[in-house]
């Protein structure tokens, strides 16, 4: 079992429709394949329907990527730019420490998705 330490987990909560492009950029430009996407519903406070109760709910995508500690800050900035987080309702990105991570790689000669 290959275990590495000094790894970080970057999590990104994004509006629907952006995540897969970010995953593709991570693969093509940073050679990172340890990304995972799931969907969620987001509940905000600063929305027009907030007075009705729990606020407006919108569809979100959650991207999680395990990255080496030494590259974490660079990839954090890369995702921040690629996902265009720096705009109203652009989402949120955060990073936490991981104690141990198992190695993951794709099989060789895997054809690209079309």
């Amino acid at each position: 079992m290959m275990i590495t330490n000094n790894q970080k987990l970057i999590t990104c909560i994004l509006p629907k429709g952006i995540c897969l492009d970010v995953v593709k950029s991570l693969k093509e430009e940073k050679d990172i394949v340890t990304a995972n996407v799931n969907t969620a519903r987001g509940v905000g406070k600063l929305t027009p329907l907030a007075y009705r109760g729990v606020g407006e709910q919108t569809e979100k995508e959650v991207l999680t990527v395990a990255v080496p500690g030494e590259d974490a800050d660079e990839i954090f900035g890369f995702i921040y730019d690629e996902a265009k987080i720096d705009r109203p309702h652009g989402g949120l990105i955060y990073m936490s420490n991981l104690d141990y991570v198992s190695a993951y790689s794709l099989p060789e000669d895997l054809p690209e998705e079309e």
């Binding site: 729990v54 959650v62 954090f76 900035g77 987080i85 990105i93």
Partner: protein, 131 residues
Amino acid sequence: MSKRDITVLTDVSLITCIVQRGIADTIVKAAQEAGAQGATVHYAHGEGVRERLGILALAVEVDKEVINVVVAKDQADRIFERMYIAGNLDTPGMGFIYLTPLEKAATYIPREIAEKLEQEEAETKSAALSN
């Protein structure tokens, strides 16, 4: 490196709460009343103590909702406590909640708020130096 300057938030924590399906909205509302700005909720499938509770083990809903809330560290205890109470998490089988420290976070911060924060920080530093 990033093409832009990122305003990084450092004193932040992540509260994760796993409850039976249908309860999340109540807990999110309690978190917002305690100061949380927002939350994300997704579904999950839970297994565990439900097998030993209730008639035919159906008392505990197997479908779960997972709530994630990013909060400032100084608000974390209060929001955590309010979510715990709102979800009746002291009752067996209702779910559980945990707090994870985050290294850093970033989101869109309007320019005027970022400038105000920088100004307040500069004033705090100069006051500390003069004392």
